[in-house]
Structure formats: C-alpha cells, structure tokens
C-alpha cells in the first residue's frame, strides 16, 4: 500500500488531513523541497503540492517526472490557481509533440 501526501501552506492543505492524506505544512519552498525528497524516499504514490510551493521546486519536480513514482501533482492553493498545473500539462505536450498544441492564440 502506498501513501498519499500533500505539501503546502497550512491554510491550503489542512483539510486534506481530514480525508486521510499525510500533510506536510510549510510555506517555505526550500523546506517543501526537503519534504518532497523525504516523501520520495518513503515511497509515496502521489504527492499533491500547492502551485506556490511547486514554483520553487521546479527542478526537482522535473526530475521526478520520468520516474514511475511518485506522481507530483500541482494543486491550486487557497488563494487560487496560478496556472502552473496547466502549464506543466502543456509542457509535456511540447516535449512529446515538439510544439504546443494547446497554445492559446491570444496569449503572447
């Protein structure tokens, strides 16, 4: 059995404790990176990380992409979505296809 964890600031993620996830609360990106590494060692299956914390650990998250576990999934924090999660989806597309299929033509 594999665990599911959440990293993020306390306000954003406290509720996940009630549905059984392990909660690692921090609002410091470096600390978040530490937690993430620890969770990789402890064989977490899924790590949800708030977008603001993910922003500071993009390198590490990119490294974890090609590994089978864990799945590191950015989630919006309590202040709302920054669009990082969607950007990462598009990045995968760009990597695979060689171009951004979902690019918004109005966005420059």
């Amino acid at each position: 059995m594999y665990k599911v964890g959440v990293i993020g600031d306390r306000d954003s993620i406290i509720g996940f404790r009630a549905i059984g996830m392990s909660v690692f609360d921090t609002s410091d990106a470096v600390q978040a990176g530490e937690y993430l590494r620890q969770m990789v060692r402890e064989n977490y299956a899924v790590v949800f990380i708030t977008e603001s914390m993910a922003e500071g650990n993009l390198e590490l998250i990119r490294e974890l992409r090609s590994q089978k576990l864990p799945a590191v999934i950015p989630i919006p924090s309590i202040t709302g979505s920054t669009g990082l999660g969607m950007r990462q989806v598009r990045e995968s597309v760009r990597k695979a296809v060689g171009m951004d299929l979902f690019a918004d033509p109005n966005e420059k």
């Binding site: 599911v4 949800f48 969607m86 695979a96």
Partner: protein, 227 residues
C-alpha cells in the same frame, strides 16, 4: 558526420548491407511506435486537461467552504477536529502497459464513488460549515487521484515519445545515410579495383602477345637468312 574509414572488401560490404537492412527495419518500426504513442498520448492529455480543469474547480469550491468554516469555528478546535486520527488514505498501484511504457494505475483502498458520510471528528464542537468543507474535499478526492494517474501517464509517455523520436531521427538522418555512403564508397572502390585489374590484364596480355610476335619475327628473320 565524416564517413568512417572502412576496408573496401566484400566482407565489409556484406556486413554493411546487412546493417543497412536492419537499420531500415528498425527505423520503420520505431516510426510506427512513435505514431501510436503519439495517438495515445494526445488522447490522455486531452482527458488530462479536462480533469485538471474540473479538479481546480472542485478544489476552489472546497477552499471556499474551508474559508467559511475557518471564519465561524475557533482555529484551535478546527485544527484538532481535522487532526483527529483516522485511517490514512492509501493506494494500491497496478501497472498498465501502454506500448511497453509502464504506467501506474492507482486504486484506493475504499470505494471512491460512494461518498462515505462518516466524518473523522465529533459533531459537538464544530459546525456544519466544516462538514461542508470536508465533504467537498472528499468529492474532489477521486478526481484528484484520477488526475494524478493521468498526469503521471502523460509525463511518462511524453518521455518515451521524446526518446523514440530521437531514435527515429538518429536512424533517419545519421545512421542510414552514413551506411549508404559507406556502401557506395566501397562499391566504387571495388569497381575501381576491378577496372584497374582489367586494364592491367589487358596490358599484360598485350605485352605477352608483343613478346610472342617479336620472337616469331626473330625466328622468321633467322630462318630467312640464307646459309
């Protein structure tokens, strides 16, 4: 890339030709693999995008509920209610094979579809707002797990597609042309040797014939000298 130095002999030629056939076949197969991976990937990514939009919406509303709860309930009580023990969420992982890319399939230990109404804390000290917030999160959970699965799958596939594309390109633009050049240069070298050999033979034959003629002439001359 500079064409490599090879010995122009038949052995080498045969070896290279065999290599070229293998390379061509590999190239074709990898190309097919890439196309199929791409098709699967695009499907997954499309679903992934929809899932993510949905998850972000669900979480946003759950967060709103949580803000409400926080506003009415004393922070200490809220925290202790949320922290109170409960079996932790754990997942089973299966592996699915998409075009020989191993991707994880998550399944939770409890049934995900039915909303279990049990909340992990007592009702006495907390209000309905918190219940709403937790229920909203619970509703978001299956989507989140599904999203995790599809996002990971998309990432792994993207990786594999990139690798395959590199291989296809290196076969197509490096390996195959290089082999073709090597084969051509060997064939030309061998043809050239052949021609060289032929002219040498012709020359030698000429010389032999000339010698024979000389000899015959000498004999004739000797014979015709009156005694």
């Amino acid at each position: 890339m500079a064409n490599r130095q090879v010995n122009p002999n038949r052995m080498e030629l045969m070896r290279l030709k065999k290599q070229l056939v293998t390379a061509r076949r590999g190239h074709k197969m990898l190309k097919d693999k890439r196309d199929e991976l791409m098709r699967q990937f695009l499907e997954i990514v499309k679903a992934n995008k929809a899932l993510r939009t949905r998850m972000e919406m669900l979480l946003a509303s759950a967060n709103r509920e949580m803000v409400m709860a926080r506003a009415v309930i004393d922070p200490a009580i809220l925290e202790s209610a949320l922290m109170s023990g409960r079996e932790s969420l754990s997942l089973d992982i299966d592996t699915m094979n998409i075009m020989s890319v191993k991707v994880p399939v998550f399944s939770a230990g409890f049934e995900m579809s039915g909303l279990r109404e049990t909340l992990p804390y007592g009702m006495a000290s907390t209000g309905g707002e918190l219940d709403q917030a937790v229920i909203a999160l619970k509703q978001a959970l299956p989507i989140m797990i599904e999203l995790a699965e599809s996002e990971k799958t998309a990432q792994l596939l993207a990786d594999e597609i990139e690798k395959t594309r590199r291989r296809v390109n290196s076969l197509e633009y490096v390996m195959i042309p290089e082999l073709q050049t090597a084969i051509r240069s060997i064939t030309m070298k061998m043809d050239e040797n052949e021609r060289g050999n032929l002219t040498r033979l012709m020359k030698v034959k000429d010389m032999i014939v000339n010698q024979a003629i000389e000899k015959a002439r000498a004999r004739d001359a000797a014979a015709s000298v009156p005694e």
